[in-house]
Amino acid sequence: MAMAFDVTVGGPDEDQAKAAIDAFHRELLRADDLFSLFRPDTVMSRLATGELTIAEAPAEVVEVLHLCDEYRIATGGAFDAKRPDGVIDPTGIVKTWAVARAAEHLAGADTWLVSASGDVLAHGGERRVGIADPRVTGDPAGTDVIDVVTLGGTYTALATSGSAQVADHIWDPVTGEPARHFVQVSVAGSDLVECDAWATAICAGGGPVVERAAAAGLELLIVAGERSQGGFEAVSTPGWPTVRE
């Protein structure tokens, strides 16, 4: 797991804010110690080799594996943590799970906004958040955006998936081929992990998963293609919290 994250905290004094952000960072590193598949000594790696059984795994790992299973069922199999080689790789939601968990360390602040490698979680007030141009690589901060939404109230979490950064990193579980249903999918809701899982699932499974996600009460913005005359073809659910018309 590697990610850039940006935390903005409002309310307490600077020392408190610094401490909260440090605690946030430590929590992410702790999650990496449990879940990284890049290092052979983590719980997740030892589960993958069969050295550990799920019964011996810490509660956090069991929780994440349960979440993977929950979203696999909810998405009709479009979100599936099992890699083609059979190893369970929960990387798809570990990042947002760790961010949501780490954000509990910010509870003392009046307002906060966490932006972690393209997924955004907000607390307190109304925050304007952009939807990245799918053509932008690297950190999209400061670049032109294709839409602007308001987070706050009902929608506090926003996740986006797509092929902008690394083409073909999501697999279609039905065809076994790289998923190329949509250019980019953004999901707004109140649970960051849920938004993330559905965004990935829609990229992987296409149209049928879109209907499931809408039925699950999530708001969606789906960039379906680039127009030859400029701009993007997109569709959104009626409740998508855009500020642009």
């Binding site: 994250f5 304007r128 950064q165 073909d168 569709v235």
Partner: protein
């Protein structure tokens, strides 16, 4: 109070960078077999079929800020999904940009919007425009092969 970190924990290293990357140029993706468009500041381009085990370092790019920008290429790492290669730009020991020189086997194909003409959905045409926003939601780079290459680029830059 605003903290911005890039935690690259591949191999147990954590690096803190300054807030925000420079805006990366749009990545050009060739066809499955076609050559990749060279990235400005990159003096060599690895053949997708010939993974380069030696991370290269090339000075390049226009001066960003006061210091000199240096780019470091990670090794080309292949997996079943294609070949991935990361490049980082470093100014005064701070990572200012991460781009994918190679990213998988092919570009995403545009899909006609009418493939999902569900009446519930509102059709929109979106244009990229500047906006005053506090954060941007976009796709993240979490491909293991990309990260492995990224870790190599950090090593080449002496930042790991």
């Amino acid at each position: 109070m605003r903290g911005s970190h890039l935690a690259v924990v591949v191999g147990g290293c954590a690096v803190i960078v300054a807030a925000g990357f420079a805006a990366a140029p749009p990545m050009k993706l060739g066809s499955a077999a076609g050559p990749q468009e060279p990235v400005p500041g990159d003096s060599h381009q690895a053949d997708p079929n010939q993974p380069d085990p030696t991370p290269g370092a090339t000075a390049g790019g226009s001066g960003v800020g006061g210091g000199q920008a240096q780019t470091f290429d990670g090794p080309a790492v292949s997996n079943v999904r294609g070949t991935y290669q990361a490049q980082i730009t470093v100014v005064d020991g701070v990572v200012t940009d991460v781009v994918a020189l190679q990213a998988g086997t092919s570009a995403a194909e545009s899909v006609a919007v009418n493939s999902m003409a569900i009446p519930l959905f509102k059709e929109r045409v979106l244009e990229a425009q500047s906006a005053d926003v506090e954060a941007v939601s976009g796709a993240s780079f979490t491909s293991p092969a990309f990260l492995e290459s990224l870790a190599g680029a950090f090593e080449a830059a002496g930042l790991s």
